[in-house]
Symmetry: C2
């Protein structure tokens, strides 16, 4: 796809030192968190928007595929060059926080800025950028926007899209587009920023992002509720959310997950419990914190909670969070291969969803530990199998497909925050009609008529 | 454009009683709040989504223009059939609240539901739908979504788009599209709901909307600050918003507006004041209310506030709000014709914006009273002229164009909440490059290749 002439052309745009096509670099840029591998034909490091524009114009003319990449920490292969071509690596040069505007409570960043670096920079000024995907220590804002990343705080503070005010991006032909403003209200023209969010780099390459910031709440408190069954815990979740208080986080672990963490870390967790809920509330006044905790405790108790533990300090809070933070790594005791999905349903059907996942696990004879962000209906569902056994793998994938079907039947979505990418592309037909897929194709064609941007993603 | 054969075809879809083409109805559906007039060739009242689909399929085949219409209360001609064709009137049959889902805090409505009817229905259940455009007593949710309506509470609670979780819509060819879910997180497929919001009925006809609801705060309190100058008031606005507390509303009136209301209603308003700010805070606890009021009072006082009045009860609150609520009708004392725009800038440049509007008013020798939603940078700018004097009208329009230029120069937008429609279409080139307009055209073509949906709007 790419020959020496193309490599030379790319070097004239960005300089020799910013184009690689040696084997070592091709391997280094061939993977993401899915552990699948696709080697690109070249890796290019644009220095600025003008570079991105020049590269896209050239690649569009020569029909060369371009895959934008941040940290490569995605769970669905969004940054993998499935059809070869160029990986456009934005983390090397385009990683500056351009502005933290205190007066308007806005940050302007390049796509390669790491989420946690932004959080720290704004918190140093008393401001707050809430979206906190589990990958926050290494994932980039560009990647977060492209997948519309969620996180623990979404129940109260929403997700990445709720903070994107404006985007600058480059279309395949090289045109630079400014979408949105540093204003809360803006209804002039189509909502281009809105459609670029979660578009997985298939429509344009994002070169600058303007993010809304909020004031950092002064106080926070953690509590944990222990429940006899998943059903009762799930009822407590949606009834809490409907009570009028909105906790920052409302995370859950099922019995399999609790037992896995306990087996690995011996923390004295309640291994007989059906489920644990861990919740954070925040605010500026002690009275607000107390009020929210009282309401949550009451709703939990009304829904079968056996024990309600409130952290008295930061240390106790970290203790309560320990099980949740170590859930993902602990469940590997159930199988060497984890087929993990991030299905999301309306909160009120969480009890039914978990019941039916349990039923799938029984029928397929696989363990399916679940945990996650139940405050917004987002459940991390992990089908654990022996990765060296092809039969087990097949069973695992069948179980996952059935869980997807159940999710869609319950009014839920294939992905709450990880995206579609390559991993979930085969399941898009479960969630969308042919007419809906046609609309996606029409939009893709409108932005990228030659299909050079991240081809093959999202079943397009 | 439409002949007897077309009328007969439409009647077979929706029944004789739901198709009008008599003069009286054509006049009744020829206007909106702009007072401009364009008569359609027919008015059709679809009974349901299947009707909308049949009508669109037929009109697409026969290249007949379709203009979706809610209450016709828009300020920019969005619902006017500028190129003739059919007005698709959604307020008659498709006006049901389909569901208020207490467990998931979601409402599902048809597009013709009136904003205030929805607010009342959800408040009766202890829930809250915050977007409150000034037209809330008659404008429809479908119209609100199509223009992305704002309102008084946007500073704290955001605008219509922040509450849209899912949309069902029909494409010109008749295809029915479901976009979004009853879930906070959903990243499967492109954000179709996102791009339909504010698209002014140019991409698809919305047939059902799923809206996020929140818990209704229990307490509210109002205060007013009197300032020596607009500049000091504007500084107080953005410094309050950056202080960490977020008032529900932060409304402003300039001296011309204050004097107009006083002249009309004799309420004892401070006619020597440069500006008034009126603010509401809300919460669930008295301590929260007091804390917010203390911070606002402090910031106001630090920025030259001459008097800070706190309402002690509902009656005093209504008193403080009186001037703002009657601003729009009062300023007509300055001229029979009001050329009003809803420009929006980043809050920190509000002082400069108002200074420069003042300068425009002096140079063109017109009065330009301003008031509005300064908490989100949205200023209602009213160039007042004698409507019977063509010369005055011309001057007025030149002044407005200059104000648009200043707004864009300051990083602002042509429209915060009214939309582009017909009225602002001539100014789109001030805000967007040709490349950006081309992207809008590409998107329009992707959704509506035959350009039958609301043609001529948004400069498309």
């Amino acid at each position: 796809m790419i020959d020496a002439k193309h490599i030379e052309a790319l070097k004239t745009f960005v300089g020799n030192e910013n184009v690689y096509h040696d084997k070592a670099h091709m391997i280094a840029y061939s993977y993401d968190a899915t552990r699948e591998r696709y080697e690109p034909d070249a890796v290019v490091f644009p220095r600025d928007e003008a570079d991105v524009s020049a590269i896209l114009r050239y690649c569009n003319e020569h029909r060369i595929s371009i895959v934008p990449r941040g940290a490569g920490s995605g769970f669905t292969g969004g940054a993998l060059p499935a059809k070869g071509g160029i990986v456009l690596a934005l983390e090397k040069h385009m990683n500056k926080i351009l502005e933290i505007d205190m007066d308007n409570m806005v940050a302007v960043v390049q796509p390669g800025v790491i989420n946690m670096d932004l959080q720290k920079a704004v918190e140093a000024k008393g401001l707050f950028y809430p979206p906190d995907p589990a990958s926050q220590e290494y994932s980039t804002i560009g990647g977060n926007v492209s997948e519309n990343a969620g996180g623990m705080r979404a129940a109260k503070y929403g997700i990445t899209k709720d903070y994107v005010m404006a985007i600058r991006a480059v279309r395949p032909g090289g045109d630079i587009i400014r979408a949105g403003k540093k204003t809360i209200k803006d209804v002039a023209g189509y909502n281009i920023a809105g459609i670029l969010i979660a578009s997985e780099g298939t429509l344009a390459v994002i070169t600058e992002i303007t993010l809304k910031l909020i004031a950092k709440p002064k106080l926070k408190k953690t509590a944990m509720g222990i429940f006899p069954s998943v059903e009762r815990a799930m009822e407590a979740v949606y009834k809490t959310m409907a009570s009028g208080v909105t906790p920052v986080a409302m995370e859950f672990l099922d019995n399999l997950t609790i037992r896995a963490v306990e087996e690995k870390f011996h923390k004295g967790l309640p291994t007989e419990a059906g489920a644990i809920l861990i919740t954070d509330v925040d605010g500026n006044l002690p009275e607000e914190i107390d009020y929210q905790m009282e309401v949550i405790e009451r709703v939990f108790m009304e829904n079968g909670c056996m024990e309600f533990k409130k952290a008295r300090n930061e240390e106790e809070s970290a203790d309560l969070w320990f099980a949740r933070r170590n859930a993902s790594q602990s469940i590997t005791i159930y199988g060497s291969k984890k087929i993990n999905e991030d299905i999301t349903v309306p909160r009120s059907v969480l009890p039914e969803l978990l019941r039916r996942i349990d039923d799938v696990a029984l029928r397929y004879k696989v363990k399916v530990p679940c945990f996650g962000h139940t405050g917004d209906g987002n459940v991390h569902t992990n089908v654990m199998v022996d990765g060296s056994d092809p039969k087990q793998l097949e069973i695992g994938h069948k179980a996952i497909e059935e869980i997807f079907r159940i999710t869609v039947e319950l009014g839920g979505t294939l992905s709450g925050e990880h995206g579609i990418g390559l991993s979930k592309a085969p399941f898009m037909h479960l969630a969308f009609t042919e007419e809906e897929m046609n609309l996606f194709r029409d939009i893709k064609r409108a932005f990228d008529p030659n299909n050079i941007l991240n081809p093959g993603k999202m079943a397009l």
